[in-house]
Symmetry: C2
Subunit: 146 residues, 2 copies
Amino acid sequence: MVIVATSADLRRDLMDDLVQTSFAVAAVLTRVGAAHDLSLTLLRLLGILRDRQPKMAELADYLVLEKSTVSGLIDRAETRGLVQRSTTPEDGRSVRVGLSTKGRRLARTVEAEIAGALAPLTARLTPQDQRQVHTLLARMLTETAP
Amino acid sequence: MVIVATSADLRRDLMDDLVQTSFAVAAVLTRVGAAHDLSLTLLRLLGILRDRQPKMAELADYLVLEKSTVSGLIDRAETRGLVQRSTTPEDGRSVRVGLSTKGRRLARTVEAEIAGALAPLTARLTPQDQRQVHTLLARMLTETAP
DNA sequence: TGACTTAGTTCGTGATACCAACTACTTTAG
DNA sequence: CTAAAGTAGTTGGTATCACGAACTAAGTCA
């Protein structure tokens, strides 16, 4: 008897992998973040602010969170000296958020630690396979044109 | 001039992909879960209980959470009729947790919806590439022998 | 039997997240 | 050029999630 992996099987296997990967990576991020008193959300915040100075509403879009949630998030981050709010000249209502020096330093540290913590995982693949996964995951994550 | 992608570049690219994938998948899970009033943690709980009836302490291990956190989690899930606590005959202290019929039905529904929500992602890859990613991710997630 | 150990729960606290209501600026209509 | 409508962010109230410390009940063992 020949066992045939159907297209549905394949999809399901891949889906399981993706979910497993998501949790495994999230676990790493949570652990590294916790060492610096950073929640997963705060970690994402630092990541986003690394190369942007968005307004609150844009930040809410990036994070897929309510504006009110972001307000509280930035409140706490600001209290800790990680970010700064600044008013914009063109619109008296809107607020721009940026990393402070301390926040930028922390972001760099954490990024390095995350890389270190993920290395044991990626090290299980040969360089060729790493390239392959990179190519395919990147393709998968690419937004399809609307 | 020839641009060479070094091994470090490759690792970093792959790391970025993994983090992106983690967030993208988590976003899908959060969205699908929210439609059924399930947090990411509750979603994981249902997934774990699909083929297990662990004791509280084992559950805490699976979820990598404190026992006290799991207590509250199960409290709420039990109130909603999704899981049941049962005492074990061999040890009067320990408690076994299992899905209720309602919980099992919900788990199946949600699983199907997650598959549906992830399909647009996986559909961007050819079946061969899906197989490839599956193979490589599975290898990456495999525990290295201690 | 009495002293440890173990399994779960309870309690208090803080972070995260939502929604609804609010304030303060901008824009637009008349 | 003002009054109405809209927009950006904040505030306040509530529920969940997560932790650690202290507790209860049940098992172990000396």
